[in-house]
Amino acid sequence: MIETIAASRCRRCGLVVAPPAPYCPWHPVAMTPTTVAGVGEIVSFTTLHSPPEGFRSPLQLALVALEGGARFLCHGAETRSLKIGSRVAIEAVDEVYYFAHLGAVDRARLFWRRAGHAGDRVNAITRSVVKKLWRGGSGGASG
């Protein structure tokens, strides 16, 4: 499955935030629970060379604009060849979210999934992309 990320939506302005929050940052209005798919576009990313205690160095961080509207901060396994605007999939590994770059083939398959085809295969691909890149790491990133 493509990761489903818990989120919430403001009834007044439509802002979607992830993880869910009781109130919209801009309105004192209770938010409605919703979910967003773990697929989106890189807004920005950085490699932190002196991360805080409990995180391995270097630490890859990215801000991702999810298709469902929320922006999401997550870890990455790899930022080489990553650009602002790159398509990424997000996956939880031990309750921590990671992004992985989606290649052209993966993107094409995602398109077909949206068109209602081959969903399972795409899900398997995004999952394997994340795992392949991430499992090289030695963990200890949950802080």
Binding site: L15, V17, A18, P19, P25, W26, V43, S44, F45, T46, T47, L48, H49, S50, P51, P52, E53, G54, F55, L59, L61, L63, A70, R71, F72, L73, C74, H75, T79, I84, V96, A141, G143
Partner: protein, 374 residues
């Protein structure tokens, strides 16, 4: 609302200091009171971001007031993260403007260099949204995200960002109160170690100790507070839709200029919150001091240097004067007062209107203050 004037200003040398915070604050406060020729203020505002954890000291308003010899003077403590000094100035301004007090001492400072750097980074990082912090986000990390987004939006390269550091170090070399007194070359900035890609070490302000103070008064002096404004934004950076400008700065500038009754074209020089070099470029545009998209050109053409059309950070800025957190917003105003009254020896600029801009957290709680020669 009554007019509010600045009667006195003083600060300590910024850097690695062996004195305690209370002693640094006493040095700055007594210097400001001495230039104001005032022995005892009606009220005191103390600005300190986190003495509880940096020092283990609480009840900090009473702590400082007693240490200064003002145990009988009503004192409050103010905090808005890294802009606490500017917020303290606002609190003092409000007391005088409202007629609650005639003469208010505002003193701010921080002492950090006695702690290991990772510990200091972690404590400063507590001003970040808890969820983002749980992913290892620190101030440099979030500033790295902002910088990369800025470089993608505008034709800004590493060279342009580095030029801000070169300029501000050159200014600080002329400021005896600055943390760094040595100029740095563009090559040295661009080859310093990577901190949060694309931000390098010499794009980031140092960890500094220091204190600064001003005395505000209802009586006429050579420097008037023309306007002050606060602007805010979401704690979490992921809830913002634009990383390349700061809403909190824009809102603070709008409020400050509205109070002043004039616009940014009247500003002759400014102290701008360059905790990270690219923030100076972002802020110049957010403040309206240069048109959108023109900050790089102004910087590369020397317009923002000491001898330029619009000197920015004549003190050396956070980058090179140093950033003792709650001292910074006040140190900016002290520099503006010294410049406006011809007491900035070695780095004196011309001008009648000065602007100070202070960022709290990752631009969640910002201030703009405008001072004018009477």
């Amino acid at each position: 609302m009554r007019d509010v004037w600045i009667a006195g200003a003083g600060m300590t040398r910024v850097g690695r200091r062996t004195e305690g915070l209370r002693d640094l604050m006493a040095e700055a406060a007594h210097a400001a009171l001495a230039t104001a020729s005032i022995e005892r203020p009606d009220a005191i505002v103390v600005a300190a971001m986190n003495p509880e954890e940096f020092l283990g000291d609480g009840n900090f308003a009473s702590n400082v007031a007693t240490h200064l010899g003002f145990a009988d003077v009503p004192t409050i403590r103010i905090e808005t993260a890294t802009s606490s000094g500017a917020a303290g100035f606002y609190a003092g301004f409000a007391q005088v403007a409202a007629g609650l007090a005639r003469r208010v001492l505002v003193v701010g400072g921080e002492k950090m260099t006695h702690l290991p750097t990772p510990r200091v980074s972690e404590l400063i990082g507590r001003s970040i949204d808890p969820y983002e912090r749980s992913y290892g986000a620190t101030m440099p990390a979030l500033a790295g995200l902002v910088t990369r987004a800025l470089m993608a939006r505008q034709p800004i390269g590493e060279r342009e960002i580095s030029q801000v550091s070169v300029k501000n170090h050159a200014h600080a070399a002329r400021n005896p109160y600055a943390h760094f007194r040595e100029p740095v070359s563009l090559e040295r900035v661009m080859s310093s170690r990577m901190v949060a890609d694309p931000l390098r070490l010499l794009h980031c302000c140092p960890i500094s100790d220091g204190a600064a103070a001003v005395v505000l008064t209802a009586e006429r002096t050579p420097v008037r507070v023309a306007g002050i404004g606060q602007g805010t934004d979401t704690l979490a950076i992921r809830h913002r839709y634009d990383l390349t400008s700061f809403r909190a700065t824009q809102a603070a500038a709008r409020a400050a200029f509205a109070m002043a009754g004039f616009g940014p074209a009247r500003v002759d020089f400014a102290e701008v919150h360059d905790a990270f070099a690219p923030f100076e470029l972002i802020s110049l545009e957010d403040l309206g001091l240069v048109p959108p998209g023109k900050a790089v050109r102004a910087t590369m053409h020397g317009e923002t240097a000491l001898d330029g059309r619009l000197p920015i950070n004549p003190s050396g800025g956070l980058k090179a004067r140093g950033h003792p957190l709650a001292a910074t917003g006040l140190a900016q105003l002290v520099e503006c007062v010294w410049q406006l009254t011809g007491r900035a020896e070695g780095r004196q600029v011309d001008g009648r209107v000065a602007l100070a801009h202070s960022i709290g957290g990752l631009a969640t709680n910002n201030w703009v203050t405008i001072l004018e020669s009477a």
